[in-house]
């Protein structure tokens, strides 16, 4: 063994800060990278297996009313099995929670062959007053097995905590921007429980499993279109048709989120690795410069270059290996749970099982390690191209013209000295600038998301023009005579009853039947409750239709709603749709780059019919993803009767028959989006900030320490000349401080640009347009955190300067 290696432990101790910094940088990058990416990979594997393991549907559809058996048989003949899976959305309440909450009741017997569930705690319901609720919902509300909840006014005991394979994420509606595990849950009940808790209220959902489950997306969506046509031919009215992979957010949202996040993390880890590479270059060069005379002597004494390279490679290699091992150990053990929680804290996934990914290992461990080795090796080889004499004469540092730049004499000596320090270390400071930018990016990214979401929720609320926007499953008139209301009440009664003859008795049944005889089959149904003249007068009908609008950058599309409104609307008073005008929401205009005069292409995903509209103006907030046009014009466009409508805008609360009511949108309900996003991103963002601060400390410390180290002899001279520590700090530390502070501020435009890029990237898969709004106060916080972290580094430098001994100047003169 080379005797030179005896100096390795001493070098390690002597340069502990440097090596500890490299080690910690490795540790953090690998622990975060491998911890996160391994967890994400394992979750992806779990998700990948779900389709077969839990027999997740290939598609489902919802009909306006119960589909005829013959219709279902006709579709099954096309090559699939259809499972009846009626659901009912009912109000849920429990002690200590005042928010309006919605529980989607699902008959557990219907989930034995398709979209199977799994229990985390407790058992399946066995009585009609028992229910099992979703794990995420229970977690968010601290609900435990044995809790009593009120379902649609019926008291029920929660006997199980479960998840359903087609509700990996609790997406209440497919058009929702984000899932909602705070005010929405699924509830598994027995068939009797369903009847008891939901009454006659049903959403007629049918789950489909193809005979050929290997069918690709194109073939499958084509199959589904044919199926929709067939259902229409059979007289069924489809209100929803969802392919599991193409557009079922409750299934693919989590998968997309995991894979989308992985790309983002890979980019961030990649960026960190590049920054690390630069740091290694700077450190290697600094080491060689520092050791110049020793290397020269060794070369002059007959040491071969490869022996010297081998010697200088030992410690970085050792530190790299240690960092990789410790980083992986930390990432796969301690960090694993918080990383899993990023998803298990948001999604209702099956129990976690670790799966090793060679790609993750290569990306998070092999690549940084090889990079360290290659960068150090190339740096050493590049420097060792100099002759032994050049080393002996210390002529290996680049003699740039900037080092001999004449500085104006009007500047004070201190200023000129500080400038010299800056110029001499310019390459270090350039790397420092990028290092600081990188950490500021992390900080700002971590800090900005929550205010951004709040801002988004505010914007969403602004676009809800009435206190209530009631969406209906089918047109339902509010205005009607008492006789009409009585007739429709009779129909409702019949719909809610499985066996009317025995339930109502012969006379009762006959009476109900007689009432239904008065129905005008060509007219719209009438609401059974009379909301009163004034309430009905202020309510305004609108029509609505969903379409897909293509995104500009990616090969994806945005599901939007086209509203057909009155020309003199009291609610959309600012929206002028007269004369065939088409008004585009500002969010949609921004996201899909639509300007007035542009043609907007709308696709009906169920019929594949394409419509083209010319945008005449833009209206609304940056979150508005709608298009507005005249109601009659929209109805004509989609081949509906001119007086067709999809709902009511109303400032007064209305009582609407449950079987017809799809959803009641209020300005307050928009707040739940923000709540959910905060709930699901909060931990992740805290982690990003927690990661950024130590990386910032290490990077700044490593890069600025080299400045102090390479100046230590001159610092020693200063001491010999009689300078006090404070004065030396002023010359050196203040030069560094100024550079760090200038970098912190100057990097902000670059950082903001990067944050915009990353946030747009991260949010691309979400519906809606999240305006990237960065409060100036956040920038102040980023600079303040950066400055506070640097203060710690500066203290370390001052301590270091105090320790530079006079003997350095006196003994090793050259």
């Amino acid at each position: 063994m080379s005797p030179l290696n005896k100096r390795l432990p001493r070098d390690l101790i002597h340069n502990l800060g440097k090596y500890l910094g490299i080690f910690l940088l490795f540790l953090f990058a690998i622990a975060m990278g491998s911890g996160y990416l391994s967890a994400a990979h394992s979750i992806e594997v779990i998700q990948g297996e779900m389709h077969e393991r839990h027999r997740v549907e290939d598609f489902h559809f919802v009909t306006q009313f119960e589909a005829a058996k013959s219709s279902l048989e006709a579709i099954e003949a096309m090559g699939c099995t259809i499972y009846e899976d009626f659901t009912a959305d009912v109000p849920l309440a429990f002690a200590g929670e005042s928010r309006d909450m919605n529980c989607r009741l699902i008959d557990q017997d219907k989930r034995r062959e398709v979209n199977r569930g799994y229990y985390f705690e407790g058992r399946a319901p066995a009585a009609d007053n028992e229910i099992a609720l979703d794990r995420m919902f229970c977690k968010n509300h601290d609900l435990h097995v044995g809790a009593t909840v009120s379902i649609n006014g019926h008291e029920a005991t929660m006997v199980g905590i479960c998840s359903l394979s087609d509700y990996e994420c609790l997406m209440e509606k497919n058009t929702d921007m984000i899932f909602n595990s705070t005010t929405f849950t699924i509830g598994l009940v027995t068939p009797e429980g369903m009847q008891a808790m939901a009454g006659g209220k049903r959403d007629y959902r049918y789950d489909g499993v193809l005979n050929d489950r290997t069918m690709d997306l194109v073939a499958r969506t084509s199959f589904e279109r044919d199926m929709a046509d067939l259902l229409a031919d059979k007289g069924e009215v489809l209100t929803d048709l969802v392919d599991y992979e193409f557009d079922n957010k409750a299934i693919f949202f989590a998968t997309d989120d995991v894979s989308g996040d992985q790309v983002m993390w890979q980019v961030l880890v990649g960026l960190l690795v590049v920054i690390m590479a630069f740091v290694f270059v700077v450190l290697t060069n600094a080491t060689i410069e520092q050791e110049s005379a020793v290397i020269g002597t060794l070369l002059a004494s007959g040491y071969r270059k490869r022996e010297i390279i081998g010697h200088y490679m030992v410690l970085p290699t050792l530190i790299g290996v240690l960092g990789c091992v410790a980083g992986n150990a930390l990432g796969l053990t301690y960090m694993s749970t918080p990383m899993q929680e990023l998803y298990y804290g948001s999604y209702s996934l099956p129990p976690y099982e670790f799966s090793f990914s060679p790609q993750v290992f290569v990306y998070t461990t092999v690549v940084p390690f090889v990079l360290l080795e290659v960068v150090t090796l190339v740096g050493l080889m590049r420097k060792l191209r100099f002759t032994p004499l050049a080393f002996l004469r210390r002529e290996i540092a680049s003699r740039s013209r900037r080092n001999t730049l004449a500085l104006p004499e009007r500047l004070s000596f201190v200023r000129r000295f500080q400038l010299r320090v800056f110029l001499r270390n310019l390459s270090h400071f350039v790397v420092l600038f990028f290092g600081i930018s990188f950490c500021s990016l992390f900080l700002l990214f971590g800090l900005c998301l929550m205010p951004l979401v709040e801002h988004y929720a505010q914007m969403l609320s602004q676009d809800v023009v009435a206190n209530h926007i009631y969406f209906l499953k089918a047109p339902l008139e509010l205005e009607g005579t008492p006789e009409q209301r009585a007739s429709y009440a009779a129909v409702e009664r019949l719909m809610e009853t499985d066996d009317p003859l025995s339930d109502l008795g012969f006379i009762g049944y006959a009476r109900v039947l007689l009432r239904t005889m008065d129905l005008d089959e060509d007219a719209h149904p009438v609401n059974t409750t009379d909301n009163g003249e004034s309430a009905i007068a202020q309510a305004e009908k609108f029509s609505a239709a969903s379409f897909e609008v293509p995104h500009v950058i990616t090969d994806s599309s945005e599901e939007i709603t086209v509203y057909g409104i009155e020309q003199d609307s009291r609610y959309w008073s600012e929206v002028d749709v007269s004369g065939g005008a088409v008004v585009v929401g500002a969010g949609l205009a921004e996201k899909c780059r639509i300007k007035p005069g542009d043609t907007v292409t709308l696709t009906d995903k169920y019929t594949n019919k394409v419509y083209e509209l010319m945008a005449t103006s833009v209206w609304g907030s940056s979150a508005n993803m709608n298009i507005y046009m005249d109601r009659a014009a929209l109805n004509r466009m989609v081949d509906e009767e001119e007086d067709n409508f999809a709902g009511y805008a109303s400032d007064e609360e209305l009582v609407i028959d449950q079987r017809y009511l799809a959803i009641d949108v209020t300005p307050d309900s928009m707040g739940s989006t923000a709540d959910q996003m905060q709930e699901s991103f909060g931990d992740m963002m805290d982690m990003v900030v927690a990661f950024a601060i130590p990386v910032y400390l290490i990077l700044v410390y490593l890069l600025t320490k080299t400045v102090i180290d390479r100046s230590s002899r001159y610092i020693s001279y200063m001491k010999v000349f009689g300078y006090q520590d404070g004065e030396i700090n002023r010359l050196y530390v203040r030069a560094i401080t100024t550079t760090v502070m200038v970098s912190l501020v100057a990097s902000l435009p670059f950082v903001i640009w990067l944050v915009r890029f990353f946030v747009s990237f991260a949010m691309d898969r979400y519906s809606g347009n999240l305006e990237i709004y960065i409060e100036p106060m956040l920038l102040v916080r980023v600079v303040a955190i950066g400055a506070a972290a640097y203060a710690v580094v500066a203290l370390a430098h001052m301590w270091h300067i105090r320790r530079v001994s006079l003997s350095e100047a006196l003994k090793v003169q050259e």
Binding site: L299, S301, G302, Y303, V812, Q813
Partner: protein, 236 residues
């Protein structure tokens, strides 16, 4: 044909720079230094002393001429062979010692012991150099003279046939310098190593077998000294 001297230099030239800035540092130097000789090289600053020493050490290439060390013309050697030459034949002693700061005295000597096929025993060297008591100390814990002794030990341990010394006493006071010169004299006597010493100290000529003086890149003096004085009797 007469036998060639151990170190035989013929018509050695070296210049730096191009065009008008070209400076000829060595202008056809020729001399012979026998095995076991102490050869001292004087000359004012800029006369080419260090360049001469570097070229003999294989650290700088010659423009023309030859440098025979034994039977090998080192001017014809490739870089890799020059490394081998330095590894096997040479010991270097520098004015500023150039010790590895985080190796002890003993370990600094071992650095070059490692390179030799036939090294001298380190313990003997430490004793003989008066460094035994300081063998566990680091360079910054010992005096300049002790550091130079250590550097001499490091050069000697390889048992080199040629020791090249660049101002070995240049950074030392009078007494320490005398001690070092006595040590070098003893090394020469005990180990029969050939020494080329570049120095400004004129007194050293009295302890040297061979005296060279460079002036403007040419040898102005090349004489043998048959009236040697022991280093202990030198004064300046």
């Amino acid at each position: 044909m007469a036998q060639r001297a151990f170190l035989s230099i013929r018509d050695l030239t070296k210049s730096y720079g191009d065009g008008e800035a070209r400076t000829q540092v060595l202008k056809g130097i020729s001399t012979d230094i026998e095995h076991g000789e102490i050869c001292v090289l004087f000359g004012p600053s800029g006369s080419g002393k260090s360049t001469f020493l570097n070229m003999v050490g294989g650290l700088e290439p010659a423009d023309s001429g030859s440098i025979y060390v034994g039977d090998t013309d080192i001017c014809q050697l490739r870089d890799r062979e020059l490394v081998e030459y330095r590894r096997r034949e040479l010991g270097f002693i520098f004015q500023f010692y150039n010790l590895v700061p985080d190796l002890t005295v003993r370990e600094n000597i071992e650095v070059c012991q490692y390179l030799s096929r036939n090294p001298l025993p380190v313990d003997d060297l430490l004793n003989s150099l008066g460094l035994w008591e300081h063998r566990g100390k680091f360079p910054n814990q010992i005096s300049g003279g002790q550091q130079q002794r250590c550097a001499i030990g490091r050069a000697l341990v390889k048992n080199p046939s040629l020791l090249l010394c660049d101002e070995p006493t240049g950074a030392l006071d009078y007494h320490t310098s005398k001690e070092i010169l006595e040590l070098m004299e003893r090394v020469n006597r005990e180990y029969h190593s050939t020494m080329v010493i570049v120095t400004h100290n004129d007194a050293i000529r009295h302890m040297s077998h061979h005296i060279l003086r460079l002036r403007d890149g040419a040898l102005s003096e090349d004489v043998l000294n048959d009236q040697l004085l022991p280093a202990a009797e030198l004064t300046w």
